[in-house]
Amino acid sequence: MSTRLARLAAIATAAGAFSGLFGVGGGTIIVPLLILWFGYGEREATGTSLAAIAIIAALAAVAHGLYGNVDAVNALLIGLPAIGGVLAGTALQQQIPERAVAGAFAALLVVSALVLVL
């Protein structure tokens, strides 16, 4: 197995483990590792992370749906405005320096860590 594939598998395993354990957290693993291990630019890392998350969330949503835990109406109520938000967020991200994206991401990591600890 190539080093590249091994590293992608490690990212996938960590993202899956953390999202399974804490319900959230896939992106907070995928984005930094794509940057630190593969030298991705910040924007590329976030775009690629979103695509991976779409697949991971789809698989997990099907599994939860089989147990009857998914409320489709609530998912629409929170998901439709979120789609508006992601359109605005991705457009805004193209206008700011990649260093600012990295700074925002680091802030998110710190907040997320504090939420876990407290």
Binding site: V24, V31, I35, A52, A57, A91, L92
Partner: protein
């Protein structure tokens, strides 16, 4: 449902999508508490429901980023396809370690990543890392 709850759900949904677009996460960190507080879901129900909402957000965000030239689809598919392995690993870990140990470990990993990303972002005009081989 109270009107204020509906407004709260819509607002936190928008904020979650905005955060997702900016930093490449699904936004579950905001959606899950939003679903609990404003739409009365249990923690488990909120996690499950947020996943369905995240599918749409992440797919639309990835589609837009592809338009901007910021998507490496092959790597994304490999990560997405192998992630279920991680869920199994997570289940094993959850049974081997206490919840508190897991929380503290994950928090430490996140702080370490924040440090590395900030150090990289503030390094003096570093060209792409490949230079050193």
């Amino acid at each position: 449902m109270e009107l204020s709850d509906l407004a709260g759900a819509l607002a936190i949904g928008f904020a979650a999508g905005m955060a997702g677009g900016l930093v490449g996460v699904g936004g579950g960190v905001l959606m899950v508490p939003g679903l609990v507080i404003f739409l009365g879901e249990s923690q488990l129900g909120a996690q499950a429901t947020s996943l369905l909402a995240i599918v749409g957000v992440a797919a639309v965000g990835a589609w837009r980023q592809n338009g901007y030239g910021n998507l490496r689809l092959r790597d994304a598919v490999v990560i997405g396809a192998l992630a279920p392995l991680g869920v199994l690993v997570g289940t094993v870990l959850a049974n081997a370690l206490s919840q508190r140990t897991l929380e503290l470990s994950f928090a430490a990993v996140q702080i370490y990543f924040a440090y590395r990303l900030l150090r990289r972002a503030t390094a003096p005009a570093a060209p792409p890392r490949a230079a050193k081989g």
